[in-house]
Amino acid sequence: MSEYTLEMRGVSKSFPGVKALDNVQLKLKPGKVHALMGENGAGKSTLMKCMFGIYTMDEGEIYIDGEKAEIHNPMDALNKGIAMVHQELQPIPARTIGENIYLGRYPMKKVLGFIKVVDHQKMYEDTAALLERVHMNFDPKQKEGELSVSQMQSVEIAKAISANCRVLILDEPTSSLTQNEVDALFRIVNELKEEGVAIVYISHKMDEILKISDEVTIMRDGKYIGTWDAKGLTNDFIITKMVGRELSNLYPQRNNKPGETVFEVKDFTSINPKSFRDVTFGVKEGEILGVAGLVGAQRTELMEGLFGIRSHTKGQILYKGKEIHVNRPKDAIDQGIAMLTEDRRGSGILGVLSVADNISVASLKKYLKHNLYIDDSKVEQLVKDNVEKMNIKTPSSKTQIQSLSGGNQQKVLVGRWLANDPEVLILDEPTRGIDVGAKYEIYCIIEELAREGRAVIMISSEMDELIGMSDRIMVMCDGRVTGFVEGEDMTQEKIMSLATQFE
């Protein structure tokens, strides 16, 4: 017997344009919580997806109890006792909790001795027992879609437990949980530990990691940095290892002077009563306004509302003192507002189209000749200017954007908006899923935008990034603006206390 329940050795994995994992290892001991840490894009989720058989490793081996194991798909992983709670939940909303938990492995029974049918009674009884184990008081027959995100997460954990797993992967399980729910989760984790389950715990929350984990593995840019005993680790040590350089030069120097207020929002309220409401704020020329909040704070929804992607019932948007009416993105764009959306793949890039098409799509009317046809040379010039200005790495302007790395895609999208010369830019998680090097470049671009006198609104879930980049930070909680912090007050503690002011 090996001392490890599961061992991954020499794992490498490439995607077009990115080496996501480079010779990474991970060793899990039974009955221990193993924290996996690293910045966004460090390769944690990719590594887990390799372990769980969602991705195929280019190189590397997996050993279970010292024996080499072949995992080609999630079913293999489940059969070998590996269970995973995904960062992005994928429940089937129209089916019940029980059916979601037992999807693909329904308990069966025989009717009339030969017809196999789903044993609903057993399924729901088992589900009820599982829900009790994860301290959830729900009817197993309730529709999954009626649950909140955190409740769905608990169901996912129940599902993982139901597989009698020996290895449990929790990918950012607490990102959308309240403190009570986190406590409940930790109780479950400790119970599983006692049963000898090896747990992989991925999280960005330092205090949680130090509280729950026994060992810590840190990754950076797809590489394995090291594994340490969790006892005796400090925040600073972990961050330094994660970032790989001193924190001081993570962000560009800021020396812009905010001017007049250009963009104001008053009493802005969503048509969805659970979403943003009574939001009032303003942004000045040359200012970077950070927007902080927990998952579910409705920051993205608010910005999408301001940009006309979502509807609002009441409220005013003032641009340079004049009221404007935004019912669809085009209305906002025509006024000189731009928005880089959070979901780059879902609502940003036009995947199969070229870099040139992607960069020009929001400003095509500018390149018309005789008001009739597009002057391709002008589009080429636009691409060339942006490639030079933002150091976009692309083989040619005709390359499909989906073959570029995340950072370069993001730069193309920034270029798309800059082509319209907007005065207000809304950036929703501009550095999500971008590797560290490219992040700094994006920061420099944002800093330059502000220096040019544009008003920048930046949503970010990375506290350091917000504090490092913003002139001022607006904090939201549960759809409301709970406060603004500025200057010396921009600390993690202040922001967190505002972000958790639930009514």
């Binding site: 993105p329 928005m339 995947g351 046809y373």
Partner: protein, 328 residues
């Protein structure tokens, strides 16, 4: 040369059928004849016009199953209106009309039907598959009402001569008038797809509709315009087809939507959206027509044509999807 080889490697169906055509041309008597070429061009033109209409729908991740029936309706209406004044079985309630005025009438009707399709899809958010399937049945019903399910004949000779006529000696080298339509339509669509904002928006919607909307594209308007253009193309095709057939009936152009979709797909229009060129559509349609001629010369029972055509459509789409379903 390398480019050609690469193209064939990526489009095995095109390569296979061109090879088969070569073999047929060398080994089968009368296959490589001027008459055959002229027929091929005429048949291809009509399918090409329809396929151009469908291509916009496909590029925006939609489809148009009402294409064939719309062609049929346009053919029947044109057929009724174009009947000679002295024709004994005349059903047209109107006096004899100028053939170009009739073209205008069917185009307006086609544009209206297409606009309805586009509206249902963009405003009511009915999936294109369902919306156009419904329209297919509706249009067929209208066609039955209009024709009273009777075949229509007795067209003005000028109409047939102008549309279905040929230049040159029918026994030697000759070219159909329809070739002009093929060239003009090809150029117009190439211009729209490559040089206009509308074309760029169309590809953008196919690439990512949400992203296009966020980038300020009025996606609803673009879609309505695309389906309306499609309707116009079907009307033109119907007008041409009736002349070429010398008669029309409610069964005219039945199933042509699948031929058009097949042609597009063989020619590299991706059903996953955002990809497709006018030249590709032309090649696809041409290759599909070649397939039909080959089957005919091989003496295959015409009923089997449907079997083969259906297979080719599914294979073409499967090969296309394979390009995009990357290995994880």
């Amino acid at each position: 040369m390398k480019k050609v080889l690469k193209y064939f490697k990526e489009n095995p169906i095109v390569a296979l059928l061109l090879a088969a055509t070569l073999v047929m041309g060398v080994s089968v008597e009368n296959f490589a004849s001027w008459g055959n070429l002229s027929n091929l061009i005429a048949n291809t033109t009509i399918r090409f016009v329809i396929a151009l209409g469908v291509s916009g729908c496909l590029i925006t991740k939609g489809t148009d199953l009402s294409a064939g029936r719309q062609v049929g309706l346009a053919g029947c209406i044109a057929g009724i209106l174009i009947q000679r004044g002295d024709y004994t079985g005349r059903v047209s309630p109107f006096p004899e009309m100028n053939m170009w005025l009739i073209l205008l009438i069917v185009v307006v009707i086609g544009a209206f039907i297409g606009y309805l399709n586009g509206t249902v899809i963009s405003r009511l958010h009915v999936p294109p598959f369902i919306a156009t399937l419904g329209m297919q049945t509706i249009v067929y019903g209208i066609c039955l009402v209009v024709t009273n399910a009777q075949p229509i004949g007795g067209f003005q000779q000028k109409y047939i001569d102008v549309i279905a006529g040929r230049w040159g000696n029918p026994r030697e080298f000759n070219l159909p008038h329809l070739l002009v339509v093929m060239v003009i339509m090809g150029c117009i669509f190439w211009f729209i797809y490559n040089k206009t904002t509308h074309g760029k928006y169309m590809y953008a919607i196919g690439g990512n509709e949400v992203a296009a909307e966020v980038s300020g594209v009025n996606t609803g308007r673009s879609l309505r315009l695309i389906y309306m253009t499609a309707g116009i193309m079907y009307a033109i095709a119907g007008y041409l087809l009736a002349a070429k057939s010398g008669g029309a009936s409610s069964g005219l152009a039945q199933g042509y939507e699948l031929e058009a979709i097949a042609g597009c797909t063989i020619g590299g229009v991706s059903t996953t959206g955002g990809i497709g060129t006018v030249s590709g559509v032309l090649i696809g349609v041409l290759v599909f027509e070649l397939l039909k001629i080959i089957l005919q010369f091989l003496g295959v029972n015409p009923y089997y044509n449907y079997v083969v055509q259906g297979l080719v459509i599914v294979i073409a789409v499967a090969l296309d999807i394979r390009k995009y379903v990357k290995k994880k």
